[in-house]
């Protein structure tokens, strides 16, 4: 069974912007998938539809066999971790509490009022922190860490959810090269050792080639490339980052896609 099944998904925002024009994809478990594409291509929109942060205007998303809809939203999100470009930690809470927020979906609202968690949750939090190498910062306020450290806390929060999928929206776009590689190594390791599928939006072609098992190229809301890193030749990259031309041309099957499947 595919980890994520995206079926003819479209997204038109309230202001009329069509960000995604009917994309269908299957994401296999345990794979490191990179979504690549120019700014405004609809990468974030696509990724955010995979855990219901945006609702598709048409089509459906199925995660591990569960159709994503209003009723199943929390249940699905529980097994889908998300890592953000801006980390999205709660700055005033300490690192451990931030990691433990990954357990909230498993706790009742009343149980979480006093910031009390079960021993089991604390062990999970501890493990997640150890995994990202930040046990020594457990009681430090999250906004006092460096960007790279904050992103590792973000990953620990996702890990604490015991997810089957981790979505990462440009996880390294605000980091320097060294911290970027640390974070991507971490995600890759999680993917390989824990069998968690990782779907990451990236800007950098280099990183995509190095870390991805599969690369999906997106331009103007459509898939224009889908294949292994080897198939991502320089010509394909150039085609991928080309400005979208007239709408008639875009409706044709793009050459890059044909090339990748050849």
């Amino acid at each position: 069974m595919s980890a994520i099944v995206i079926d003819k998904v479209e997204k038109t925002y309230a202001n009329g912007t069509r960000a995604v024009h009917g994309i269908s994809l299957n994401i296999e478990p345990g794979q490191f998938t990179v979504i690549l594409g120019p700014s405004g291509a609809g990468k974030s929109t696509l990724l955010r539809m995979m855990n219901g942060l945006e609702t598709p205007s048409a089509g459906s998303v199925t995660i591990n066999g569960t159709l994503l809809e209003r009723k199943t939203l929390r249940q699905v999100r529980r097994t889908v971790g998300m890592v953000f470009q801006q980390f999205n930690l709660v700055g005033r809470l300490n690192v451990m509490t931030n990691v433990l927020t990954g357990r909230l979906a498993y706790r009742s609202w009343l149980g979480s009022v006093l910031h009390l968690f079960r021993d089991k949750d604390l062990v999970i939090g501890h493990e997640a922190l150890a995994r990202v190498g930040l046990t020594d910062k457990a009681w430090v306020r999250a906004d006092q860490l460096s960007g790279g450290q904050q992103q590792r806390v973000g990953i620990a929060r996702a890990l604490a959810q015991k997810p089957r999928v981790i979505l990462a929206d440009e996880p390294v776009a605000s980091l320097d090269p060294l911290a970027s590689e640390e974070v991507l190594d971490l995600l890759k390791g999680i993917c390989q050792n824990d069998g968690i599928s990782v779907v990451a939006n990236l800007h950098q072609v280099e990183y995509s080639r190095r870390y991805a098992d599969r690369i999906i190229g997106i331009n103007a809301g459509r898939v224009v490339f889908d294949g292994p890193p080897d198939a991502l030749t320089d010509e394909v990259v150039e085609a991928l980052y080309r400005r979208p031309t007239s709408p008639e041309e875009k409706s044709h099957e793009p050459a890059a896609l044909a090339l990748a499947h050849a």
């Binding site: 451990m96 089991k120 062990v123 501890h126 493990e127 150890a130 020594d136 457990a138 009681w139």
Partner: protein, 265 residues
């Protein structure tokens, strides 16, 4: 469930969380105060029906004298306006001396700050009482003066703080061309804080109109005097009408000043 963490790097010692201590200290203190003041929420719980019955007496407002109330309300608003203008003028002249970076010397600074502090510390109701008994007599004039003196303390302090926050460079540039105290104020100080000033002044106007409504209780005119009289004579339907006029006016003013403030930003 295995709670094995021995193979993980240990967590550093957890810092002591003082929150429960503080929380219980505050609750304990509040409890003691409640006991000392002889406060029994029981009065509220057992007297629930009495209280409801009491408030139900206000349920049939009598608007037969509404035009008179409207005039009183206008008088109240006028009192608030005059008080605010007075406060603005006083604050305008005192604030520069109370701003650390502008005040000519330490003496004027301390003097101005203490003066503003004293004006803030005197409740306007007390000032109105004193002015009335001291010779101004009953009427809105004493109320407007009292509001003006009290809120000049606030406006002066707000203005002074804004003047202190103005970018140092603006003042230095004028120092460099040899500008004097008043020139620095007129060309760097006030122009830089115009927006903040108008925000504060509107806020004080709003506050003064609310407060003007109660100055009548001590004889300083406006709608408060009528409210006090009708409440004292247990004339609930008249009181209700007065309260409604008051509440509606103030809620409308609240909306208006919110609107103007949002336009200012």
């Amino acid at each position: 469930m295995a709670l094995e963490t021995t193979n993980l790097p240990p967590l550093p010692p957890k810092p002591r969380n003082l929150f429960p201590l503080w929380a219980s200290a505050i609750v304990g203190l509040a409890w003691m105060m409640g006991v000392q003041l002889d406060i029994s929420p029981k009065t509220l719980i057992y007297g629930w029906e009495d209280i409801l019955e009491y408030f139900s007496r206000y349920s049939s407002p009598d608007f037969s004298q509404a035009p008179g109330y409207v005039v009183l309300m206008l008088q109240t608003m006028a009192m608030g306006l005059w008080g605010t203008v007075l406060a603005f003028v006083l604050g305008f002249f005192l604030a520069p001396f109370a701003a650390r970076n502008l005040s000519p010397n330490a003496w004027t600074y301390n003097l101005a700050r203490e003066a503003l502090n004293f004006m803030r510390a005197m409740p306007d109701v007390l000032l109105a009482l004193v002015l009335i008994s001291a010779g101004l007599g009953l009427g809105p004039q004493a109320g407007a003066l009292a509001l003006g003196i009290h809120t000049a303390g606030f406006l002066g302090k707000f203005f002074a703080e804004s003047l202190e926050r103005v970018d140092k460079g603006s003042y230095e540039a004028l120092d460099a061309v040899g500008a004097g105290f008043s020139q620095k104020l007129m060309y760097a100080g006030w122009p830089s804080i115009l927006r903040e000033m108008s925000g504060y002044t509107l806020y004080i106007l709003d506050r003064n109109i609310r407060t003007a409504a109660v100055l009548g209780l001590v004889g300083a005119g406006g709608i408060g005097i009528a409210l006090y009289d009708t409440l004292r004579m247990f004339n609930y339907s008249q009181s209700a009408a007065l309260l409604i006029v008051l509440v509606i006016t103030i809620m409308v003013l609240d909306r208006m000043s919110n609107f103007i403030r949002s336009k200012l930003q």
